[in-house]
């Protein structure tokens, strides 16, 4: 018997793989939200560590609101980076000041989506900003959110 409600951990809630148009880092800036009045140049640098399998890419989605993060809206930015020597790094530029949160997974098999078993449980490693932990579901916004202000904000996320 499946004891836990991992339906709440469904792929859609983790990564929105069907609705997200994964874009390469080089053109990531083009997928920015246009909500901010003044152009801003804040940067978030994300280091993924602890990656156990040497293949595939790390897929990242950045959200700028609790609603979007919780599935009721789109990420402001998506990108991916290849895994090299157990790490992957992504740099996101041109961000408005504010609060953000990250969902990421290691696309081990390189099929562009988060793997799931026949009962809908994730089968590829995933993680959240602040290394926030899920509890029978994705980590909540309150735990995963972080402030982006002038300059470069660094997030080091263990994904294993």
């Amino acid at each position: 018997m499946q004891f836990l409600n991992f339906a709440a951990l469904s792929i859609a809630l983790i990564m929105l793989p069907t609705s997200v148009n994964w874009t390469a880092p080089a053109i990531a800036a083009e997928s920015q939200s246009a909500a901010t009045a003044t152009p801003e140049t804040n940067t978030v640098e994300v280091h993924f560590t602890g990656i156990q399998l040497p293949t595939g890419t790390v897929m990242l989605a950045l959200f700028d609101s609790e609603a979007a993060y919780s599935g009721d809206g789109a990420p402001v930015h998506t990108s991916f980076a290849p895994v090299q020597d157990g790490t992957a790094t992504l740099t996101i530029t041109g961000l408005a000041s504010g609060q953000y949160a990250i969902k990421a997974f290691h696309d081990v098999d390189g099929d562009g989506k988060m793997g799931a078993n026949p009962f809908g449980m994730p089968t590829e490693p995933f993680a959240f900003s602040n290394n926030a932990q899920g509890k029978m579901g994705p980590a909540v916004w309150a735990d995963a959110k972080f402030d982006v202000a002038a300059g470069t904000t660094v997030q080091t996320i263990t994904i294993q």
Binding site: M1, F3, L4, G115, A116, N117, P118, F119
Partner: protein, 488 residues
């Protein structure tokens, strides 16, 4: 003081989950005489290899191999505790019977993410079957909650510690070192996997994963390799710990203990609905779309023995049946608190599924649990069922072991008396066995007075004569659940 609620009183509580709210307060018992809590005690560390001391009888010639047994052995940390007997950390035990007549014991905990997280936090916090989730616990998939504590098989050269709501855990058969979860295919990671796979005499393994009213049927080769998986729909989201099989069919018993909501701990998601009866789904192994459904009066159960099909198409199997899931809801959680909350003992029954579509239930006179049979007779007609039993109302756990003879309607049993807590016994055939019970039964008790785990061997044809050999460890390990004997 023990207060036994009648079945009608239990049912009038609406759901058994409702009953669980008030039963424990009514039924506190045995607080002064909790000697049996030795069987539910914590083990603090792995048990290094050591010799067992022979205390009675002579080692039977020809019985050489390892009895692997699994069971929960760590329930408490710094004032916190598991909410249920079924949620303790799995301790894998290896009782070695050597060809020189000596015997030894090694035991190691399943080194699971659950155990590591709780050790780090210094408290019991990971949610389980009957344990609530603690603050600050991380759960990213079923295997983060997996205690790997229920059973064990040797498959493909690996010792697999089995739970039911997560993956098998791979362990080294010699050192018992944990090697990680078993993933049969990348897309089958984190799947539930029942602790009671059905193993055909040639070694092929059938098993189920359950999620609500969906089951995934597993077929593994004798070499342990995945042969096939296929999803089937079940008629209800029944709680199921075990199923059974004939040579040609899977026999899936669906008690009316049904998941009709989502609550934590999991056991609170289940409602007892006796008015809906028990169903038995029979599925052809060769074509899982071919299925028949049988109806029986309501019963609850954990364990079944192997099934067989007779010439006229009748399918028979035996099980240890209870009138309600009261033991699981109040009795087993009480064990962890040191409370004996009486629940009706399981009774050995024979179920027949007739070709005309009728199903019948025939009770024996004996209380019994952990039914096992000769592995060489899995799926084919047989006459005997090994079991523990001699349950008493005033004490928890089994006190005896026996072999029920279905042809004679008689039990060949041995009573260890109230100073032993009796664990599952397994049948081990003699080399070149000439009949179904030509061999031994092997199992453990906890000797309360000696404060030690004992290993007993009986001649399976003369159980009532008592053990032919008994060895004693220098340590008492808590009562385990299920095991497997690997002959050399």
């Amino acid at each position: 003081m023990t207060i036994t609620l009648s079945r009608r009183q239990i049912l009038s509580a609406g759901t058994v989950a409702g009953a669980a709210l008030f039963c424990p307060k009514l039924a506190l018992a045995d607080t002064a005489a909790a000697d049996w809590t030795l069987g539910i005690a914590d083990v603090e560390a792995d048990i290094a290899p050591r010799a067992l001391r022979r205390v009675a009888g002579r080692a039977p010639a020809g019985l050489v191999g390892t009895l692997y047994r699994n069971g929960p052995a760590k329930f408490r940390r710094n004032g916190t505790s598991s909410g249920h007997w079924f949620d303790g950390d799995g301790l894998m035990r290896a009782f070695r019977l050597n060809d020189d007549g000596s015997a030894g014991l090694t035991a190691r905990f399943a080194d699971t993410p659950k155990r590591r997280q709780e050790a780090r936090l210094g408290r019991i916090a990971v949610p389980g079957f009957g344990t609530r989730s603690g603050v600050g616990v991380a759960v990213n998939g079923p295997d983060d909650t997996n205690p790997a504590n229920t059973s064990v098989i040797l498959s493909g050269g690996e010792l697999l510690a089995l739970w039911e709501a997560g993956s098998p855990l791979r362990m080294d058969p010699d050192t018992l070192e944990t090697r990680g979860f078993k993933t049969y295919r990348p897309d089958l990671a984190q799947m539930p996997f029942l602790a009671h796979p059905r193993i055909e005499p040639d070694g092929r393994i059938w098993n189920l994963s359950l999620s609500g009213s969906t089951a995934l049927v597993w077929r593994l080769g004798a070499d342990g390799a995945l042969e096939a998986v296929e999803t089937i729909a079940l008629p209800r989201a029944s709680y199921m710990h075990d199923f059974t099989a004939t040579a040609r069919h899977l026999v899936i018993v669906l008690q009316p203990w049904i998941q009709d909501k989502f609550s934590l701990p999991f056991i609170d998601s289940l409602s007892w609905r006796p008015e809906e009866g028990t169903q038995v789904l029979v599925v052809d192994k060769d074509d899982l779309t071919k299925r028949r459904l049988f109806e029986l009066p309501a019963f609850s159960f954990f364990h079944l023995a192997d099934a067989w099909e007779e010439k006229d198409g009748t399918i028979r199997f035996d099980g240890c049946l209870e009138p309600t899931p009261m033991f699981a809801i109040t009795g087993a959680p009480g064990y962890v608190r040191g409370e004996h909350i009486h629940a009706p003992a399981p009774m050995l029954n024979m179920i027949a599924l007739h070709p005309g579509g009728q199903a019948t239930l025939t009770a024996t006179s004996i209380s019994a649990e952990f039914p096992r049979n000769s592995a060489n007779h899995a799926g084919v007609r047989r006459r005997h069922t090994v079991h523990v039993g001699l349950y008493r109302d005033d004490r928890p756990l089994a006190q005896g072991v026996g072999i029920w003879d279905w042809a004679r309607g008689r039990d060949d049993a041995f009573d260890f008396g109230p100073r032993h807590l009796v664990e599952e016994f397994l049948f081990v055939p003699r080399a070149g066995a000439s009949s179904e019970m030509d061999g031994w039964i092997v199992g453990n008790t906890v000797n309360i007075d000696a404060r030690a785990t004992e290993l007993h061997v009986f001649d399976a044809r003369h159980v009532s004569r008592g053990p032919v050999c008994t060895w004693r460890a220098d340590v008492a390990l808590p009562i385990g659940f299920h095991g497997t004997f690997v002959q050399v």
